[in-house]
């Protein structure tokens, strides 16, 4: 996705090496994806589901649901 869009960056993080991040994002199972520090995607989803979950992020200024 990052390769396809200049607006997307993708970090692959080895969870056991960066325990501060793992704790911060409450990673208790992998794979776990965090989108814009706000949205959590658990597990390896099929492509259409992952894309929908990753791109349908609420506006930054919107109040939390």
């Amino acid at each position: 996705m990052a390769f396809a869009s200049p607006h997307i960056t993708a970090d692959a993080i080895e969870a056991t090496e960066f325990m501060d991040l793992t704790r911060h994002y409450r990673v208790t199972g992998v794979p776990k994806t965090i989108v814009n520090d706000r949205i959590e995607i658990l597990g390896a989803l099929p492509e259409p589901d992952f894309v929908q979950a990753a791109l349908d992020t609420p506006d930054e200024d919107a109040p939390p649901a």
């Binding site: 390769f3 396809a4 869009s5 997307i8 991040l21 994002y25 794979p31 989108v35 814009n36 894309v51």
Partner: protein, 143 residues
């Protein structure tokens, strides 16, 4: 001791043969106060790069090469940046790319070297419509 077996190397060499564009892999490491996995990361990258002469590994200092670290937004060490003919792919790896991280690393290098995305047309339509920054952080473990 090599991390890749002779059989692994044979399979990988065949996969990487599709690369037609130079790929630079920047590895940002921190010697003092950094993770020891930087050494493992360097070994993994060197063993992959040895299989295809279009792949180059360049080690950078997380501290001393601050300008490049900031240019690519590298947040941690070891941090890996993959460039396609010098252009940023916006794909990063943090930590030693072993275990479950290894295949995505190879796929990212292959993607950078071929430019061939394997995404559905519907996905591409959605990605082409993205006009605000999206930062994906994917956590995985070595085993």
């Amino acid at each position: 001791m090599a991390l890749l077996s002779a059989q692994d190397e044979q399979v990988l060499t065949q996969h990487l043969a599709a690369i037609d564009t130079p790929v630079s892999v920047l590895l940002f490491t921190q010697t003092i106060g950094g993770s020891e996995s930087g050494v493992v990361a360097r070994q993994v990258l060197d063993e992959v790069a040895r299989l295809n002469d279009k792949i180059t590994v360049v080690e950078k200092s997380f501290v001393l090469d601050a300008e490049e670290r900031e240019r690519y937004g590298v947040q941690r060490a070891p941090g890996i940046v993959i460039l396609r003919d010098g252009a940023d792919t916006r794909i990063r790896f943090y930590g030693a790319p072993t275990g479950y991280e290894f295949v995505p690393l190879v796929e990212a290098i292959l993607l950078a070297g071929t430019g061939k995305l394997d995404l559905a047309p519907e996905t591409m339509d959605r990605l082409n419509a993205v006009d605000t920054p999206i930062h994906l952080q994917v956590f995985s473990t070595p085993t």
